[in-house]
Symmetry: D2
Subunit: 159 residues, 4 copies
Amino acid sequence: MMVSSQTSPSPQPSPARGEGAKPFSIPVRIYYEDTDVGGVVYYANYLRYIERARTEWLRAAGFELDVIQSEIKAVFVVRRVEADYHSPALLGNLITVTAEPTEVGASRLIIRQRIRRDDELLFSAIVTLAFIASDLSGPIRMPAAMRSAMKSTISQALA
Amino acid sequence: MMVSSQTSPSPQPSPARGEGAKPFSIPVRIYYEDTDVGGVVYYANYLRYIERARTEWLRAAGFELDVIQSEIKAVFVVRRVEADYHSPALLGNLITVTAEPTEVGASRLIIRQRIRRDDELLFSAIVTLAFIASDLSGPIRMPAAMRSAMKSTISQALA
Amino acid sequence: MMVSSQTSPSPQPSPARGEGAKPFSIPVRIYYEDTDVGGVVYYANYLRYIERARTEWLRAAGFELDVIQSEIKAVFVVRRVEADYHSPALLGNLITVTAEPTEVGASRLIIRQRIRRDDELLFSAIVTLAFIASDLSGPIRMPAAMRSAMKSTISQALA
Amino acid sequence: MMVSSQTSPSPQPSPARGEGAKPFSIPVRIYYEDTDVGGVVYYANYLRYIERARTEWLRAAGFELDVIQSEIKAVFVVRRVEADYHSPALLGNLITVTAEPTEVGASRLIIRQRIRRDDELLFSAIVTLAFIASDLSGPIRMPAAMRSAMKSTISQALA
C-alpha cells in the first residue's frame, strides 16, 4: 500500500561521545536529486553523504567548518578516497552514515565511513584529509583542542 | 569562538496537519556540497531543497514517491518554477524550507515554497507540477485519497 | 542497434557576434549524473546548463568569471528565474542551450535562455542577474567595456 | 587582464583508436556549479568528470549507455573507486580527463582515469565497474562486440 510505514526522517545524529563502540552517525534520506536513470543513487553522491557525516561529527565535537574557515583561515581537503560500493541505495531509503576517525595527525586525518540501510552494508570508504591554509598555500597544524577532541572519539570508536 | 553555539541538526518535519496557519516545513543544513566559489549556496541547489520539502510534505500526508512510482506507475514532474532569490544561504546555515499547496487539480498541483534562516526570507518560489504516467505518455488523475489528503493541508495552510 | 549514429559531442559554442538573429549557444551532452530515477533529467539541472551557457556567452564576449572575481572583486548572482519545462531531456541526448540578453543595466542583466533537442523546445527561462561585490556588500556597476560588449550581442540577438 | 586568453572550449574527444600510446580523453570546463566555498572543485565532482570520460570512451567505441539500457537491459555500476587528489581544479579551468581500460572481463571492467590541467596531474583514479541487469538482479556478460571494441583500446593504451 501507499501509506507510509516508515516514520518521518529525524536526522538526529548519534552521540559523538558514545557509550561503547558505537561510531558517530547521521541519517540521510534519499530524494530524487540523489538518483539516476539506472534506478539507484548516482555513485558520486555517496561522497556527498560521507562528507555530511564528517561535518556533523566535527560539529558534534564542537567545531564548525565555516568558523574554521573564517577564524583559522583553514579548510579540510580530501587527499585520497578508497570506496567500495556493496549494494545500491534507492529512492525513499533512509540510510545511516558513519564517521570513525582511525588516525589523527598534526595536519592529516584518516576516517573510516560506512553507509547502511538497516543492517545491510551499502557502501564503505577510507578517506584521507589534509588540513590546509584557505589560500591553498600548504598544510597547517590543527589546533590542539581540535585534535584532542577528535582523538577522544577515536579511542571510543575503536575501544 | 569555534565552539558550536548552534544545536545539532534535527530535521524533524513540522506537522503536516498543523494547528493554525503554520505551513509544513523541514530543516536543511548547508554543507560544502551546496556552496560555490562565490561563497554562497549555488543557485540551482535551492530547487533541490524545495523538492525535499515537497517529498516530505507528501510523505507526511501518507504518500511516498517510490511507492507511487512502483504501484501507480506515475511520477510528479515540474512544469514551471518562478523563483526569487532574496538573500543567500551560507555554509553551516540551518535553513527552514516550507511547502504549501495553493491548488490541487486532477493531475496538477501548485505549491508555494519558502526558505528562511531564522526569520529572514532567503528564497521563495511557486512551483507547478503535473502528475504523469511513468512512461511519460501523459497526465493521469491523482488518486482521490491523495488529492483529498493534499487538500486538507491547503485549507489549513490558508486558513 | 547499439552502434552510435550521433557524432561525438563537440561543444563548440556558436559565435557570440552572430550574423543575423542567431543567439549564442552551446551544446550539452546528457550523462548519468544529469538524470534521475524518473528516467529524465532532474529538474534543477537545467539551471546548471543555462549557467554554463551564460558563462560561455560572457567568455565569448571576452570576459571570464574567475578573472572578474579576482580582479573586479565582483560576482554575478541570480535574483529571479522564471522557468518553463516543456519536454524532458533524456540520457545520451545532445541538447543546445542559448543565452540571449534582453536587458543590460548598470548592475543588472536579464537573459532569455532556451534549451532545444534538434528543433524541439525542451526548456525556456528568463533569468535576472545582479552584479555585486564579492563580499556580498551590494551591487556595483559593471565595467563600461563589459556592458558595451554585452549590448552588442543584444542588438544582434533581437535584430 | 579580463580579456580571455584561453580559446573557447571545444570538447572534442581525442580519438579512441589512437596512434601510439595516447589514451582516450575529453576536455571539461569548470563552471560555478563545480566549485565550493573552499574556492576549488568539490571533491565528489571529479567522479562526475571521470564518468563523462568513460561514457564518451564507450561512445567512441560505438556504444551508447541509453541504447545499452533499452536494448540489452543492462547498466554499468561502479563497484570500487580508488581516487587520489593531487592538486585542485579551479573555476574557469579547462581540464583533460582520460579513460584507459586496464582489464576487460566477461562482466567486469577496470579503468584507469586521470585528470590534468595542461601537464599538471590533478587527480587519478582506478575504477572497477560491473555490467549488470537493469533490474539489478545480477551481473551479465558483455556482448562480444563490446568486449572486443573495449579490448582494442586497451592494447593501444598500453602499447
